[in-house]
């Protein structure tokens, strides 16, 4: 590039033209320029090229750029679009079907179990006080609470007889029995399938 061999000085000429050198470097270049015709020619070429490039480049309008920047800033950001492959769609559909099938099976199973469910204290009384007295017209002439008779483990009988217990008139129970039922209810061991009669007084038991 340089005929004088001072390549390191010649290649700094662009920085010299742009005033980007410190004072010692600038003085070094200027001293070399006095002595080297090739450096002077190259300096002239760099300056001419810089001016030509500047002159030939279309002028850009900073206001137009700022308008575009402002508009872009106000523009809501685009929501990224995720492209899902056909295979992924099938996988998702299969997963959804599997979950739905499982949920349906679980629902059916729980419904069937609920149909066959007999309250604990009807099947195996939690509180011995709830054990029904043997139904004997002699031993208990008074109206007895319509509790379920002996434990019945056949589903058909349980379904048929459970309402007899639950649907029975709570007014027929004495205070002790009502208290036991309430304790049992508190502990989650049983539940009323129907609301008790509005005029039933849990406090008095009658």
């Amino acid at each position: 590039m340089s005929e004088c061999g001072r390549v390191e000085l010649h290649e700094r000429l662009p920085e010299y033209v742009h005033g980007a050198l410190d004072a010692p470097q600038r003085e070094q270049i200027e001293a070399h320029l006095l002595a080297c015709a090739d450096a002077r020619r190259e300096l002239a070429l760099v300056r001419a090229a810089r001016d030509a490039i500047v002159r030939r480049t279309p002028v850009v309008d900073p206001n137009g750029i700022m308008s575009a920047v402002r508009a872009a800033r106000l523009r809501p950001r685009a929501v990224p679009v995720y492209v899902i492959s056909r295979r992924a769609v099938w996988r998702i559909a299969a997963a959804v079907a599997l979950v739905a099938t499982g949920a349906l099976g679980y629902w059916i199973g729980t419904r069937r179990a609920a149909e066959h469910l007999v309250p604990d204290y009807a099947v195996s009384p939690v509180n011995p006080s709830l054990t029904p007295e043997p139904l004997s017209p002699v031993a208990s002439p008074a109206p007895a609470p319509k509790l379920a008779p002996a434990p019945s483990h056949t589903p058909e009988r349980a379904v048929a007889e459970a309402p007899a217990l639950i649907m029975g008139d709570p007014n027929d129970l004495d205070e002790k029995q009502v208290g036991a039922i309430l304790i049992d209810l508190e502990q989650g061991g049983a539940s009323f399938e129907t609301e008790p009669s509005p005029d039933f007084d849990f406090g008095s038991g009658q």
Binding site: P14, H18, L45, I53, V54, V60, A68, V69, A72
Partner: protein, 184 residues
């Protein structure tokens, strides 16, 4: 080498960026005024002609959108040139843009160096531009950033996607080629 982007009495790019992030639009305007002409010259050196302003505008829009990701490892001008180069590359990939470029190149082959233009700008400048047109694309980009912007080789390498050593070689080859062209 000091940064060519700001004179000593003007606020540095980093200070203007910080002000822009706090909502100071004047800071952004100063950044645009400071760097847009240099980015335009670089875009022109990439072979873009009539779309220079569009590319520069889009480069600034993208730059301001992604300013949080600018870590200041290079000069802002270098970063802007990198964004502009990527934009030009992306646009060149679209068939539509390529067709337009071909049409533009043909148009300029006729009008760019017409005698009237040459007489106005001077014969030396005309020959100089012809010599630069003969350079390889990489040589032209490096030569433009070095001569028109006074960029260091390291910054040039970052802007054109090359190495510092390669940028230096490209500049030397470009300078030699131009001298030879002018000596013919």
């Amino acid at each position: 080498m000091s940064s060519p982007s700001a004179a000593p009495d003007l606020p540095a790019d980093s200070a203007l960026i910080a002000r822009w992030k706090t909502g100071d639009e004047r800071a952004a305007t100063l950044l645009v005024e400071r760097h847009a002409p240099a980015v335009a010259r670089f875009v022109a050196s990439l072979g873009v002609r009539e779309d220079v302003e569009d590319v520069v505008q889009e480069a600034f829009v993208r730059a301001f959108e992604k300013l949080d990701s600018f870590r200041g490892e290079s000069a802002l001008r270098t970063w802007l040139c990198t964004i502009a180069r990527n934009l030009v590359r992306d646009r060149a990939r679209s068939l539509k843009f390529e067709r337009r470029q071909v049409a533009i190149e043909e148009h300029h082959a006729v009008t760019e160096h017409d005698p009237l233009d040459g007489a106005m700008a001077g014969e030396t400048e005309e020959r100089l531009m012809r010599a630069m047109d003969e350079l390889s694309p990489m040589q032209r980009q490096v030569f433009t950033l070095r001569v028109a912007e006074g960029m260091a080789y390291k910054e040039i390498a970052s802007a054109v996607g090359s190495t510092e050593g390669a940028a230096r070689v490209h500049y030397h080859n470009a300078m030699r080629a131009i001298k030879e062209f002018l000596d013919e």
